[in-house]
Symmetry: C2
Subunit: 256 residues, 2 copies
DNA sequence: ACGAGCGTATCGTTGAGCGAGACGAAGTGC
DNA sequence: GCACTTCGTCTCGCTCAACGATACGCTCGT
């Protein structure tokens, strides 16, 4: 029953606003009466709200999401540095964590003329075709083995789908301490990223800059990015060593 | 059963990270076995994760929260303007929506030396003692009646708890089109806010700047704030008139 | 050595969730 | 104007899964 309720909540995609009961039934495969009852309960619990055209995720849901400890505290720690980055470059700045074999965007700063990028806060992208993802892969051997073992889905003509070539790229990432992505997840989009390493040098998060290939020169921003990554990493490490458990990293769960 | 699960999720406060099972039992009043079972299920559903010391809200929760339509789209619309504000002022910038008789913070931009402010993204504050809240109250007669009717809780010696005095302040807000708060929610903190009005001139959200009373001169930022509020309002209105229902505002539910 | 507090597991009972189905309203095509 | 579909809402028995009492093993602190 809980599972069904969550299925309803998860039926909402990143760019959905309102879904009708019928649409929810279609997406979840639940019985109409069941979905109806659950929706009513979720409204009661203020996770959904009923709108003119159907149901939508409510502010209560947003609130709960923002209480997710890892993401929220990471966000608070990193925001000042992300803002600095934006102010210096005026390019799109991303902050992401890993969950399974995907990166989840935790923050996105960008100007009025945002690149038509596929990223959205709360959205997901595969690891192997994004700069953020490569930053995670380069610094996590276990993860690398898993991902290089599985299939690498192609997103654009430039996506690196050959494991050996990707592996070589990742070695370069470790050398240079920056990861690049050149139109591998979306055409026209170039990215550069650094990992945020925790106390044990595991990638805790990653920060990237993105811009249109035509104009964006990732090399110009390597230094600033590395500095930001290191600074946030230091803060994360400090927080870990003082008040804390010590051994839990975000997103330890395997692939979805 | 759903209700109990949500109770567990809601047991996590804004600044909790990990809660033990015992602590969850204490806060929710649930039976130990029940809480245990529900936590296991929630972990299964990837809304919770088990850490070394207990449970924490997971990235899956964050993801869901970010799919909340009103907050997410508002965030995307407003972010560029909030960044401009920050860049111009280098003061703490807030974006909030209303839910019931409280304001929920949707975004917060601030520098490295953030004011020791009580606001956190996803957190709540009463309407009557914050600049953001006054922006909502000033532009919503029904709401104003409700709040002025009820008790106004005192947060600091400067909190305005006299309905008539607050009412006069709100009239001034409408005249000047900016709301002020001077140490009414926290000592040492001064704020100034504007509403984001939708197509029907209802307050859809609000934007504020905050800083330490010692240094922060809210008057200097009125113009920039008003401009930002109007710009975001225009975007909101445009989105409403094109693809949309037309009649739903965020937080239509009455008090908590 | 002892007891308190905690997480985990078992189990019988029962109440709550389930899906089939009915129904009215609103829309669509002819 | 009528037949037909789609949608949201509600009712009602049946069954299964959620519930809480209880027990157990573990780790502390004293």
């Amino acid at each position: 029953m809980l599972a069904k309720a969550v299925a309803i909540l998860r039926a909402f995609a990143v760019d959905d606003t309102d879904l009708s009961l019928a649409e929810l039934v279609r997406r979840t495969g639940l019985h109409k009466a069941t979905a109806f009852r659950l929706c009513a309960q979720l409204v009661e619990l203020r996770l959904l709200e009923k709108s003119a055209v159907g149901y939508r995720l409510s502010a209560g849901m947003f609130e709960l999401g923002m209480r997710a400890s890892v993401e929220r505290s990471l966000l608070e720690l990193a925001m000042p540095f992300l803002q600095d980055l934006y102010e210096r470059t005026h390019e799109v700045v991303h902050l992401g964590v890993r969950e399974g074999h995907e990166v989840v965007y935790v923050a996105k700063l960008g100007g009025h003329r945002q690149v038509r990028s596929p990223s959205r806060v709360g959205g997901r992208m595969p690891l192997h075709c994004t700069a953020l993802g490569k930053a995670f892969l380069a610094y996590d051997a276990d993860l690398r083995r898993e991902v290089l073992g599985g299939p690498l889905t192609r997103r654009t003509p430039h996506t690196v789908v050959e494991p050996r070539r990707l592996s070589r790229q990742l070695a370069t990432v470790r050398q240079q301490q920056v990861a690049f992505e050149r139109e591998e997840s979306a055409l026209g989009l170039t990215c550069v990223a650094v990992p945020v390493l925790d106390r044990l040098d595991r990638p805790y998060a990653a920060i990237s800059l993105a811009g249109p290939t035509t104009r964006f020169r990732p090399e110009n921003h390597q230094h600033a990015l590395r500095a930001a990554g290191a600074a946030v990493g230091a803060l994360v490490a400090r927080r870990q060593s003082t008040s804390g458990d010590g051994m839990s990293a975000p997103g330890t769960s395997p692939g979805r």
